[in-house]
Symmetry: C2
Subunit: 136 residues, 2 copies
DNA sequence: TAATCTTTGCAATCGAGTTGCAGTAAAAGG
DNA sequence: CCTTTTACTGCAACTCGATTGCAAAGATTA
């Protein structure tokens, strides 16, 4: 596992106090985090600072965002080597019971045969249902 | 093509003036519509009535909703015979240039191999890029 | 017809996301 | 170092899509 400092250095994002704690928090969580999740976890950091930090991270491909249909955008740290290209696509799983969103890095996305002359740039693939913990 | 009345009858939704015009509008559009799109098209119908109509339609599987990442939920009429089951899944294409969202009924979704004990119930699959009209 | 339930329209509210601005901190130039 | 410039942070205010409370209007049932 890389440290926060290493990741920011690789992605050419200047290291600051807020950025370090936000990234550390994201790395420590198994599920994707909303702005509110992060705000609640980092009690003394301002929402707009976190918000701008997330935007900066996303622009520089430190994290990617997920629209899971819960009404709040979730964020997760990109896998090592990810460039957020179509080749880096992966499914996200949203558990409708426990409200957690996971990256399914290990489930391959088959090639999508788009209609003629359509150009794929990115995608937001959210699969919904019950996670292993809730499907008992 | 079925009429609005036929569709509502099949889906067991009582026919009212608002429901008819909302459904008629959705049927007439090739791209998925947001609440605002519908509101603008139906000048004398109240937003909250349209909103509640959309909720009713969705509950009764007359339409399905799409989170395309534009910030506004889009709605499209379900294909004939659709029960909004996993088998009825289809991709949605969001054109980042013209801001239109289409249902790609003709592009098959391969079987998704979820991790052990995960249960698929539904999905929101949005592919983003340029549509044929904008990719010139 | 009267009683009941549903739908509709209006206004108000909610909440996630976003922005302006001033203060602070960090980097660059001398 | 000290000054100048640039970037980051915190606060408050605001935007806008979504949602709800309520009363009036309409439809259904007894």
């Amino acid at each position: 596992m890389q440290t926060e400092e290493e990741i920011l250095k690789i992605k050419k994002v200047k290291n600051t106090a807020v950025r370090t704690v936000v990234l550390r928090h994201l790395l420590s969580q198994e599920k994707a985090q909303s702005l509110k999740d992060i705000e609640n976890a980092l009690a003394y950091t301002d929402r707009s600072s976190i918000f701008r930090t997330l935007k900066t991270f996303e622009e520089n491909k430190v994290i990617h965002s997920i629209e899971d249909g819960s009404g709040m955008t979730k964020y997760a740290v990109c896998a090592k080597g990810c460039n957020c290209d179509p080749k880096d696509l992966h499914y996200h799983f949203y558990c409708t019971n426990c409200d957690k969103t996971f990256c399914l890095f290990d489930v391959p996305i088959p090639k999508i045969q788009l209609p003629e002359n359509f150009k794929l740039k990115q995608a937001n693939m959210v699969v919904k249902g019950l996670c292993d913990n809730c499907n008992k």
